[in-house]
Amino acid sequence: MRRRAARRPRPWWGSGAARDLLLLPAQYDEDAEGDGCGSARAERRRGAAVRAGAAALRAGLLVTKCGLLRHRPAGGGAFWVDSQQKRYVPVKGDHVIGIVTAKAGDVFRLDVGGSEPASLSYLAFEGATKRNRPNVQVGDLIYGQFLVANKDMEPEMVCIDSSGKSSGMGIIGQDGFLFKVSLGLIRKLLAPKCEIIQELSQLYPFELVLGMNGRIWVKAKTVQQTLIIVNILEACEYMSAEQRKQALAKLSGNR
């Protein structure tokens, strides 16, 4: 199995699955500290780190999104709010799947699901020169990375890393299937040891590209196998871990 998207290092997503402190905009409720969503074991694991985050909130930090407070101790420590939303907002460095909507001179316009289309230079591909242009058509899927993404400027994408290598990015092949899921599910799937991906990989070989903008591209040996993977991934949004295991057991039995 080839997993282009999951190869990049993202050590912190979903690292502390047990630490749940629900935050709402501009509200800090001390009573809520004790009744998180996790089990009793999870409650114990919610360590001093989150309490430190809660202290920062008490000290006057303003929460603007609703979601669960997460913490990464590594690299100096970071806190963030993990919220479930559907609309993507471009972030610098994010790997996304874009759809080519127009070719305008020496840049391509890509729909990435944000508020405005992203631009992609024809020189931003591995081995591309003024003579040797990449073969990109309107409607193609492109897996790339944001070089520029802020609220005041047009987002700009590239398909090469800083050393000029493609490192998995570029045009995605003609066949396969593209669909959309929520951003929360994408983050869950991109976690380093994601159970869903591990369980699916035991079913049969397939290719998978995960874009941080909520788009997933899947290709397996047959159309039927592709659609099975698509249905399972789409259902993961609503299924619990046990329901998923049951569904997968049924599928592997039928094979």
Partner: protein, 221 residues
């Protein structure tokens, strides 16, 4: 995901209310709000999306609210409520974080009687569901001033007709400040303050309800 709660508060009580998140599949944020048995509002929020050049604002997001009645086309009443809702939402949405974009909120009334407070609550839940940056939460509370001078929270359609005055407040979660107030009928300043105090008391239960419904949503994942 529906939750129902009945609340006892001071002078009167709010009718049981419930909400459902995620009924619609296409919008970025969605919520259904039921107050009592009848007045229910379905809300769908789209944004931040690309704005039309004519509506684009250089420094903040352009917010648009559309209120659709149960039958027929939106009229003057809907337009006036749209303005109230838009101004309330603009006060809490941090639009400066998404300049040159558009946010569209569509509210579909599903019952004969529609309280403005119900629309306000549905709007806030949709904003929460979409994950837009908010400076605070808000809730809507309607008070009816009865002919004998007593205050009735969250009146039914019939009680609303009998009432001397109807007051609707949008109350923000930070220090329970008033974001919007609208009145119909005559009332004295003291009576208005009495209604405001009652509404602020009821606001806490609605904020607690928001918290409970959001927790239910996040626990599932």
């Amino acid at each position: 995901m529906a939750a129902v709660m009945a609340v006892e508060s001071g002078q009167s009580r709010l009718r049981p209310f419930s909400c459902e998140l995620g009924l619609l599949s296409r919008p970025d944020g969605r919520a259904t709000f039921l107050q009592g048995v009848t007045p229910s509002v379905l809300a769908g929020l789209y944004g931040p999306v690309e704005a039309k050049i004519s509506k684009e604002l250089p420094d903040r997001a352009a917010l648009e609210v559309l209120l659709r009645p149960k039958v027929g086309l939106p009229g003057v009443l809907e337009r006036s409520r749209e303005q109230l809702l838009r101004q309330t939402c603009e006060a809490v949405v941090l639009g400066a974080l998404h300049p040159r974009t558009a946010i569209t909120l569509v509210l579909q009334v599903l019952s004969d009687a529609s309280l403005l407070s119900c629309c306000l609550n549905a709007a806030c839940m949709a904003l929460l569901d979409a994950g837009l940056p908010l400076a605070a939460l808000f809730c809507g509370v309607t008070c009816a001033l009865q002919p004998d001078g007593s205050v009735l929270l969250d009146p039914t359609a019939r009680q609303e007709q009998e009432a001397r005055a109807i007051l609707t407040f949008a109350i923000g979660s930070s220090e329970r400040k008033v974001l919007m107030a609208t009145t119909k009928g005559s009332c004295s300043v003291e009576e208005m303050q009495q209604c405001l105090a009652a509404a602020q008391g009821a606001a806490d239960t609605i904020f607690q309800f928001y918290r409970d419904s959001v927790r239910r949503r996040y626990c599932k994942s």
